[in-house]
Symmetry: C2
Subunit: 360 residues, 2 copies
């Protein structure tokens, strides 16, 4: 395995993988030699390379973990250096531009990833092999993605204790804009607004637990965030516009004294907030479902992103190609009867003939 | 003491006061007889009155703890019912309209208050006599406020374990709009935006700890919040406009690719956030400072709000009126040399002749 960029995420992946398998060779590279040396010192790496090219030379799995705005250029640069059979993935917080560059460089062997863990602390010092335990790891397959790339990255995520979910890259970017990037900007804007003007000293008395919560993420690393916002520009601008309109709508309701309308709106947001985090995990026994699939691009992405849309965690996945060619069998393992039932129905509606049980 | 409105705040004040002094008579009233009965059952009240008027009849301290949008009308209604010597205060989250009505009804015997505690849970069931321990209790004196009103409410707050700070009502409202009311709206707007549109089911995977933090307060009670927003309409509208402009500024920077500008802005917000909550409390030994003051309205408000502006907690305060009339001596106790020094200097600049030591 090659890990390019040995900060919090890259370092934690390497550390987690090596904690589980002490003998696993993990070659690392970082623009900052001290960061790579520290990763080596912590046992996250088995060796440090002198260049990106040297790091990937013998790898069968390449993890791009540099700042997200540097990933597209790294893909282009490494197109020929990565061994022909190796799988390439990344951990960037924005995906459309990265996936485009990754597929241009590596074709079906590239699949984007986004582990949902850690952003306030950073650097190899904060790395933790258990960072991904019980976290979600979003995988962003497309019509181009090979099943072996999807499986390999899913296996990496699972081995680190993460739950995987598949979402297509453009949807991913719109979702993270709304769930992470715009809230980040809003938190900073609220701090900026709060401390502007006089009476700054009296703020402490009036800034309660709510303000603390809302603005906690404003203490995040600005360099990291510029890279993220830069890489998800389009979706972030859309999100900011949407938020601006929502706030204008509230201002209009207050100006008009439309208190009942305001109450309903607050109540809906309240219910949505409570529901969002009260949503039960589809846990349970592993259930296998399988289906015949045409051997054409896009099937894997369609099936896995449908599972993602339903919030169903695919625990394992494989494709058995038919010897007759033209079609194969896709087998999925999901946790629990409920999840298996929901996913089977949805896939039926998409035209797949879903069966229970493993295909062996 | 009379407590009008026996919900979370009124109930907690009554409970705290009675925990400290089992024999203190606390008469309560609530629009909801069940809430008043529950407060009596919990020992927060010594008796329940049948009307607002009956509740205040024998009181020397009246605490208005009904929903904030009902306080102005209660003041008007109780103008004659409250005994001539009684002090009146309230606990509303917005102050300008309340203080105006309170002073119209009770003159110098009214002083507004705003204990900064609890808003997600509500009702007498959640009441807790220790709710205010180590919390800030904002007092909003004006040029009209008598020193006995200020002292009495300060003593109530201190007896419940709160730290007091004085802020004038209009500044208070602008500050809470920025620190609490607009953040509340922003949190609800972010939830609303996040759950609108497709892929709602995939949200759970992508909604990280940051989103949880930012939107936690969106789960608050909508009725309470409508009352608050209604009572602080002007300052909230100004705050929403300011926030909207900040967000537009960020969108412009992103559109223009002004990454360095964006980085600086995020960095400033980061520093401000860290500084805000890292600010050390001015703790230490009680230090007395005193000064001759003209016996005219407004002096008390000027001195206490200056202390509030500086973040200095006034532990105790008294005014000794000169027998010659026309002036008196104001004595303040603050915690620690640092706070005493800063406050003395500031008051010197305002033209007061500040001396160290108690006047006795």
């Amino acid at each position: 395995m090659a890990v390019l960029g040995t900060g919090l995420i890259g370092g934690s992946i390497a550390l987690g993988a090596r904690t589980r398998n002490r003998r696993l060779p993990v070659v690392g590279f970082d623009d900052d030699p001290a960061a790579a040396a520290a990763a080596l010192g912590r046992g996250a790496l088995s060796s440090v390379a002198d260049s990106l090219e040297e790091a990937v030379a013998g790898a069968d799995l390449v993890v791009l973990a540099m700042p997200v705005d540097q990933i597209p250029a790294a893909c282009t640069r490494l197109a020929r250096a990565v061994p022909a059979e190796a799988i390439v993935t990344d951990v960037g917080s924005a995906k459309a531009a990265v996936v485009e560059a990754g597929e241009a460089a590596f074709g079906p062997r590239f699949v984007g990833g986004h582990p949902m863990a850690g952003s306030e602390r950073h650097g190899i010092e904060a790395a933790d092999g258990r960072l991904f335990e019980d976290a979600w790891w979003v995988i962003t397959p497309t019509a181009t993605t090979s099943s072996s790339a999807y499986q390999r990255v899913g296996a990496l995520a699972s081995s680190l204790g993460a739950k995987t979910v598949a979402v297509d890259p453009v949807t991913h970017d719109a979702l993270v804009a709304r769930l992470s990037h715009v809230p980040q900007i809003a938190a900073s804007a609220l701090v900026d607004m709060a401390v502007t003007g006089g009476d700054r000293e009296a703020l402490l008395g009036l800034a309660g637990a709510g303000f603390r919560d809302v603005t906690r993420i404003a203490a995040s690393n600005p360099d990291l965030w510029v890279a993220i916002l830069r890489s998800n520009r389009t979706a972030v601008l859309e999100g900011l516009q949407t938020l601006g309109k929502r706030l204008e709508g509230v201002a209009d309701a207050i100006s008009a004294g439309a208190w009942e309308e305001l109450r309903s709106w607050l109540d809906e947001a309240r219910s949505a907030r409570l529901e969002l985090f009260a949503k039960p995990d589809h846990g349970g026994e592993p259930i296998a479902i399988s289906m015949l699939v045409p051997d054409r691009p896009g099937v894997l992405a369609e099936v896995t992103t449908e599972a993602g849309r339903l919030g169903t965690n695919i625990e394992d996945l494989r494709i058995v190609h038919s010897t007759e060619g033209g079609r194969g069998r896709l087998e999925l393992i999901v946790a629990g009867e409920a999840a298996a039932g929901i996913l089977s129905e949805a896939l039926d509606r998409l035209g797949y003939r879903v069966e229970r049980g493993e295909f062996d």
